[in-house]
Symmetry: C2
């Protein structure tokens, strides 16, 4: 299989942690693509031009990161990352949705700088995104999501979101959220692939 992604992508980082945890490193070849310029191979695999995209042996493509992680979870060994049924499944996937939402707001804030001239940036839009981020961080700070034996897909997604905000937002999320800072420390101790996939490392 081929994973089209970029070292800086938080969605790609979720998938790379999943590959490591599930013991699939030998079966997935990483292919770096530049979504800023656009990449013909990526656009052929996913017409949205979005990463990550997983190309299977038979040529089929799977996206987005949620679907890829679920697919890989059925393939590899190691702990189950998405419970197969019951309330735990919906709790895990809803936490994943919260982490993905955090990433999406944080990305749009980065895009505000990347794709607009400086005098065309709108503070009220960035503040609107930040309000969503702040509410979500406060919610997580109030009840940092615990795990039993091993972090699951929901935890991976939240960690990828916080890691992205360390990378692109200078770690400003850490202020006022000591419980979540401690949570990320516990997570990185439990999932060595987190530090191994730090952007720029």
């Amino acid at each position: 299989m081929k994973l089209l992604s970029s070292p800086a992508s938080p969605f790609g980082r979720k998938v790379r942690m999943t590959i490591a945890i599930k013991g699939l490193s030998d079966r997935v070849e990483a292919v770096a693509v530049d979504t800023g310029k656009g990449d013909p191979a990526l656009n052929a695999a996913n017409p949205l031009g979005r990463i990550p995209a997983l190309i299977l042996e038979n040529g089929d493509t799977i996206h987005d990161s949620h679907v890829i992680c679920e697919y890989l979870d059925t393939l590899g060994s190691g702990p189950i990352l998405i419970p197969r049924s019951g309330p735990e499944r919906w709790r895990t996937l809803t936490l994943g949705s919260l982490g993905d939402g955090l990433i999406e707001q944080a990305l749009l804030q980065v895009y505000e700088g990347r794709y607009r001239p400086e005098n065309m940036r709108v503070d009220s839009w960035v503040a609107r995104l930040q309000a969503k981020i702040d509410r979500s961080l406060d919610y997580l700070e109030g009840a940092p999501p615990a795990w039993h034996d091993h972090p699951d897909y929901g935890h991976l997604t939240v960690a990828a979101a916080l890691g992205y905000m360390d990378f692109r937002h200078a770690g400003r999320w850490r202020t006022g959220h000591p419980g979540l800072v401690a949570w990320l420390d516990r997570f990185s101790a439990a999932v060595p692939a987190f530090n191994a996939t730090t952007p720029g490392a």
Copy 2:
């Protein structure tokens, strides 16, 4: 259960079609929320302040629309909307991801008008989003996704995306995509809930 959504939301429309197809209308109460102004009940259910959000009898919340649709698919009667395993599952979910991606680009184009003064809108950003939409439409036009007995979750998501572009983009997607126009006609004949959930109808 309570579904927090808005009549105009394409993600909410996916869920409302799912509720109808799965025979769950009597078990889900629709609650209209205004995400533009912000809604305290919504923010309490989903700190991202995003719709749709499904509040269960026990007070737990499930989001996003993908997760809600999968949850409802395990509850109701009627056709299976997300195959439980195998290649069909990944094909359905990847088509759903394509439809969600179309919706997300189309929404960002609408937000460009809604959340920015007219002189702060950036044409190159809107064009970047449109290129993703156009590639995806051309891909779907080249191979409109067929169904066996009944449309599945992937088809519902693409239909919600096209319906949103009818509603907010004056149906411009129809030009140059006659195969997809015919596809949406077949879909709306197979899924009466599609026309029943037309925004503004």
